[in-house]
């Protein structure tokens, strides 16, 4: 199978799974924006997603996308280190025009994944996983890990009241930005969708896209943090209605 046993095939898998994850990020960012304007609207989206059969199917596809991307990343890196040979250069200079991020994609990816673990524990575990596990345990209307898995807005608003959570997420977004700036154009290059004219265009489009995605996420974080920490708030809804007592 050429997608596993040829170098370009393996890169195509990296590229396509990466582009799929970019689509997911785009959707996630758009969904988050709703929270700033109306927690009720955000909860409607949470309710639409929830633990319905179609969401579980999509979650499985998404998880497969992540796993394929991560497994291939390590596989390719191990092969590439072997191809480099045993002796390393004593003096090595990053040439002009070579992005720092392009040579550190694995490290950036690992940072993204570590934060994903925290992110899943904070939200997914208390929401979708909670719902599925509770119904499998035969509980009717009661939940194992968190009382109200459909009220995503409260969970998010409560978490992002903490400064350290916001700072951690911002660090995560910086790593994600670097990962995307190389990943986006590189993915299109790998599937052959590039030439001398589109080379710089894709790079610019990738940079703009990564910036919009990361700024979108950061905007929600910062808006919620300020709203819940400033007396009287800055948004059009009452923060006290949504904060959970921890």
């Amino acid at each position: 199978m050429w997608l596993t046993n040829s170098s370009i095939g393996r890169k195509v898998v990296m590229s396509v799974s990466g582009l799929f994850l970019v689509l997911f990020l785009t959707f996630h960012m758009c969904m988050n924006l709703a929270l700033v304007f109306s927690p009720e609207a955000y909860n409607v989206i949470c309710g639409l997603l929830g633990a319905h059969w179609y969401t579980l199917a999509l979650t499985a596809v998404l998880a497969a996308g992540f796993i394929v991307h991560i497994v291939y990343a390590f596989w390719l890196t191990i092969q590439n280190r072997r191809a480099r040979g045993n002796d390393r250069y004593a003096v090595n200079v990053r040439p002009q025009g070579v992005e720092w991020s392009s040579q550190n994609m694995l490290v950036l990816g690992i940072i993204v994944i570590l934060f994903l673990v925290l992110h899943m524990a904070q939200f997914w575990f208390k929401m979708q996983f909670n719902e599925v596990a509770s119904s499998m345990a035969g509980l009717d209307g009661e939940y194992l890990y968190h009382d109200d898995p459909h009220n995503g807005a409260s969970l998010v608003i409560t978490e992002f009241k903490n400064l350290w959570v916001v700072v951690l997420y911002l660090v995560w977004l910086v790593a994600l930005w670097f990962h995307l700036t190389h990943g986006f154009w590189s993915a299109l290059h790998t599937i052959g969708f590039n030439n001398n004219i589109w080379f710089n265009r894709w790079k610019v489009i990738g940079n703009v896209f990564a910036t919009v995605i990361c700024l979108g996420f950061a905007f929600v974080l910062i808006a919620l943090f300020l709203h819940t920490n400033i007396e009287g708030g800055i948004l059009g809804w009452n923060a006290a209605d949504w904060l959970l007592n921890k």
Binding site: S7, I8, A83, G85, R88, A90, V93, P95, V98
Partner: protein, 251 residues
């Protein structure tokens, strides 16, 4: 007036493929800034021979930047710190009096060290032999204008064909990938009607050989193109990807 400089050289010495190599430090004095880098190494070797020591082994041939024989990883750059030239075209005026210059061989599993700074680049010949040609039954020469080729295609094919196969792309790549070389050799033929006929078979065969010989997977860092003495464009790699994916989808 001729200017001369004194230098300290840190040179990689390695007995053969299996031995462990190490750096040796040498001093050379009175090097003319008009001389080339390889002439400077000639002076060093002359000095070593007179001292009864083994001269440093390095590859070179035409010494005018067209044969692709010279190599050397100089101060962290294949073919030295200057851009778009080979080592033999590097002049000593690029260095300052008292500089320390670190000289290493190409380091890649695909190019094992033969001795000192000389590496075995026959892997590239094997990749070419796998499909980097057109099969033509030679007969009488055709009229030159029988097959019309757009100027832009002809220019791009010529740019790709300017690859001299020196291996700097593999040396520069953190993944030890030979994609820039293979993509240039596939592109120079894929862009022209004469080469199109065997394009799919060629892409398949050359990539398979490249993988078999242990070169790495390209991650599009662009270090290869940035260091290439012939400024081969990275867009060749996109073309190779396209040709290869098309060929595989046809299977």
């Amino acid at each position: 007036m001729e200017k001369t400089i004194d230098l300290t050289l840190k040179v990689w010495r390695q007995r053969d493929r299996k031995s462990k190599g190490q750096f040796e430090t040498y001093n050379v004095k009175g090097i003319s800034t008009d001389s080339s880098f390889l002439e400077m190494l000639d002076v060093l070797n002359e000095q070593l021979i007179n001292e009864g020591k083994e001269p440093v082994v390095f590859d070179h041939d035409c010494r005018e930047g067209i044969c692709g024989m010279c190599s050397l990883y100089i101060n962290g750059h294949p073919h030295g710190p200057d851009s778009a030239i080979t080592t033999c075209q590097l002049h000593m005026r690029k260095f300052k009096n008292g500089d320390t210059i670190t000289i290493e061989p190409w380091r890649s599993a695909g190019f094992p060290v033969i001795r000192d700074l000389m590496v075995d680049r026959t892997a590239y010949d094997q990749i070419i032999a796998a499909g980097g040609y057109t099969s033509i039954n030679v007969g009488g020469a055709q009229d030159a204008n029988a097959v019309l080729i757009p100027k832009t295609d002809a220019d791009e094919a010529m740019d790709s064909a300017s690859c001299i196969g020196c291996g700097a792309c593999v040396a520069a790549c953190k993944n030890g990938s030979a994609m820039l070389f293979v993509s240039a050799k596939v592109s120079q033929l894929a862009l022209l009607p004469q080469g199109r006929i065997e394009a799919a078979r060629r892409a398949r065969a050359m990539v398979a050989k490249m993988d078999e010989l242990g070169f790495g997977n390209c991650t599009n860092t662009g270090a290869c193109a940035a260091q290439c003495p012939k400024s081969i464009s990275l867009s060749n790699i996109a073309r190779l990807n396209r040709e290869f994916i098309k060929a595989k989808l046809q299977d």
